[in-house]
């Protein structure tokens, strides 16, 4: 005797915490039971009793085999099934006398076969798992030939996996990264939405000339096959007036200046989108295409900016520790021993507030005994070696460095009263270095214009930005976080190319 279990019914409570029950009933038509097509392995194994409450019940699961191997001279087979919903696999036992197409299943491969399995959950005699599935019906949805399947062999270097980026999400490591990345993204939205921030989509293609945060890609429709077809002026210049946008258009390096326009109307806003750098960098910390989060708050000074940034980093860390415990256990074991303690330390420590000038004093003193590649001095744009020394050796926790020399920071940052430093803050974390960069923005029109003149920037192209200070100006602050750095920070992954699905860097844009 066994009861069949389908995935939990779409209940108002489970699925609409944010919508009134009356509205909810309209949304979830009783016939819309699409989510019940299979039970997710997550919903069996991640229950409080690790699936024991399912014992004796019939379930249908579906996924891909991590392994499938015969035992007892072909009398039965063990199938280790993963459906991507969680790190852990469900062990399934297939008896040759009970499953009619046993031989077909065995012939379909071992690693990477796609199966749908109906069976009864029983208590497992094996160590390390509480339940296993005894197969009744097994359907081969997609066979997988171990002779040609690139992932048939068990161990692959992360470097090799980058060459098969379309298949690497089928590995333990990259699937775990994808789940943690998903959690970081949703935690970001949760954090800001619950605090009343509005999500703003700033443009990717931009005709603005004055961002100055890095080398930019050109976006064009003028290039096809032949040089002679490219529109040119009489003196051999490229004629951008003939281009799609009627000007030289580029890909954004930051949404900040754009989102400030919405901050000056909706108060608290944030961006979350892709940004681009056309820099010839092959480092493990840089990509040509990466995602960035840029909150911007009206009526906020640098102190508020720091508090929000610290809260946000802690919120994401806590969210991942809560929702991806099994993925983190894997990273602890395979990628970074000590990861859990590092993250716990981040959650429990108030971040250090450290003025730049004080940091230079500490580093100068340290330089007497520690060997830095670049000697620290006041005015230096600190390098990764200095940042990591401060967070890993001196304070052993995240550090918010503030009040940087104006010369090494952007034109829009608010000048301190000393006339030398600006209200900038960077959050430096152990292992990664800079995770967040932010500042209070100069809201005074005259001071901002003066700074633009000093830097000999094109003031004309910035008139729209100056308008924000010209009409109803507001003290405001914000910061930017490189999303991939956050994922590296919480997973311990060391190469940024492994924490984004399809990484782009010089000479690499496949798929």
């Amino acid at each position: 005797m066994s009861t069949e279990v389908v995935a939990p019914e779409v209940s108002d409570e489970l699925h609409c915490p944010t919508v009134h029950p009356e509205v909810c009933k309209l949304v979830h038509q009783p016939e819309a039971l699409w989510s019940r097509r299979r039970v997710l392995i997550r919903d069996i194994l991640l229950t409080e009793d690790k699936g024991l409450s399912f014992v004796g019940k019939t379930v249908t699961v579906a996924g891909w085999t991590r392994t499938m191997r015969e035992q007892g001279g072909g009398k039965f087979a063990f199938i280790v099934l993963n459906d991507g919903s969680t790190f852990d696999n469900l062990q399934c036992v297939m008896d040759s006398e009970k499953v009619a197409n046993y031989k077909e299943v065995i012939k379909s491969g071992n690693v990477g076969v796609c199966l749908q399995i109906k069976g009864i959950l029983v208590k497992s005699p094996a160590a390390g798992q509480s339940v296993e599935l005894h197969c009744q019906e097994v359907t081969v949805l997609g066979a997988c030939d171990a002779k040609t399947f690139p992932l048939a062999k068990k161990r692959h270097t992360l470097e090799h996996l980058r060459d098969i980026a379309h298949l690497r999400s089928r590995t333990n490591t990259i699937a775990a990264v994808a789940r943690v990345r998903n959690s970081c993204a949703f935690a970001t939205h949760l954090f800001f939405q619950e605090r009343g921030f509005k999500y703003i989509h700033t443009p990717i293609i931009t005709g603005a000339d004055c961002e100055g945060a890095g080398e930019m890609f050109t976006v064009t429709t003028m290039l096809d096959e032949n040089i002679k077809d490219i529109p040119a002026t009489k003196d051999g210049k490229i004629d951008y007036s003939k281009d799609f946008f009627g000007k030289h258009a580029k890909m954004t390096v930051s949404g900040q200046l754009n989102v400030e326009t919405y901050c000056c109307a909706l108060s608290d806003v944030y961006t979350f989108g892709p940004t681009f750098r056309a820099e010839n960098s092959h480092s493990v910390r840089h990509l040509a295409e990466f995602w960035m989060i840029e909150p911007e708050m009206a009526f906020a000074d640098l102190t508020i900016d720091m508090e929000v940034a610290e809260d946000y980093v802690k919120f994401c860390t806590a969210y991942v520790m809560e929702h991806n415990a099994d993925d983190l256990a894997f990273f602890e074991k395979q990628i970074e021993p000590g990861l859990h303690d590092r993250l716990k330390n981040v959650l429990e420590s108030p971040f250090v507030r450290l003025p730049y000038t004080k940091a230079i004093e500490i580093l100068t003193e340290a330089a007497k005994t520690v060997k830095f590649e670049v000697q620290p001095y006041w005015g230096l744009d600190l390098g990764s070696e200095h940042e990591r020394y401060l967070t890993e050796q001196v304070f052993k926790k995240p550090v918010i460095m503030i009040d940087y020399p104006k010369e090494i920071k952007a034109f829009y940052m608010k000048l301190n009263e000393d006339g030398k430093t600006v209200r900038a803050m960077d959050i430096l974390v152990p292992k990664i270095g800079e995770l967040i960069g932010g500042s209070q923005r100069e809201e005074n029109l005259e001071l901002l214009e003066k700074r633009i003149d000093e830097l000999k920037m094109d003031k004309n192209g910035l008139q729209w930005y100056l308008d924000l200070r010209r009409y109803g100006s507001v003290p405001h602050s914000g910061f930017g976080l490189g999303f991939e750095r956050l994922v590296m920070f919480v997973t311990g992954m060391e190469n940024i190319r492994d924490v984004i699905p399809f990484p782009r860097w010089p000479k690499n844009a496949s798929y």
Copy 2:
């Protein structure tokens, strides 16, 4: 006597519904009270009693004046303040005898002045509002000169506002659009996250050649000023091997093929990111840069695909009706009378399922009396006029059209048994036309290869995509929704350029 009210304390319950309380305590340090810098007007006016519980209490608010005008011969002034947190304004009364810098405030402008106001909330004698604020301290954060402020005059056409896109979020209409757009975006994440889908960031820059969904922009670092500097081969061709990515790189038109690779490992996934079309379109329904949501589900056929899509549209609609009631009331009044009933009808109606062949029969019959610009016939790629006729005249609700002729659909769609039609579905809605396009994907390697050959596509460039069918193939389905169309659908806005912060179309890429 009055008690001072600050914004609600950051309580575990309010802010961490998704994180365990123990973890939550670590995140929200008691000193992190940054959110208490001011009370949001939303938190006063959108309470159940419309702010009456605040009567007698002192609050600090901050925002921009919608109007500021003196009355009683200069004895007092009415300030109508908006902080972007909600559509509604807070009326503030400033008495010249009680506010020391009364004259400075008056001199700062009328429309668009940025103020911080501390005062006591009292019951309002005026109609249309339950409470008003009696000012005690008013700080002018940013004056605004009505003589030059482009928005000083009250009425502006939406067309004119597009020319001042950096200021238009300060208008009622565009701010309401931004809030609804924010709600649609968050509702999207909520819907998919609560159902176990993982958010995947597919690449923006792509070297893949075979998407075929539309004209693409080129991404390059080879263009600067002079034609002669562009790398060329001996025979005058553009030498893309010298470009940043070592090949002709473009901007994505869809993340679908990429996200399928993650679907074949994590089961249920979705994208939400910008996509691009280099098409010379000036229509009110097309942009060169727009955002798209593309869910992809393993173990799902077209029926499941339709159910998820219908649930998703209804969820977003319900979420906006619930969270943006005041914004929708404005759209009802100013943009589309009948909007509320249209949306309610969408929520309450099961969407019609209509085979393409049946639709052609209906349209052919209708064409006897209705004048279509293009006569309907089997095989025609239906136009907006046909789609709107079906949803607005025949069914008066959303229609899911299915089983399209294979000739007018993409190569990857699964062939029906008739050999003529494919398992495609489009969701057509009143007023907008096509909102969603989706299909079951061909998971059979041989059939997919055959179709690619028939269409004379470059099979070599698609080997990675074919690998998904070669190794552990899985029946799967998905759809794409143009995010701006969804925002138009729920707001009634008629020009797509008004529902994205900085629209891009031919010759337009300012800011």
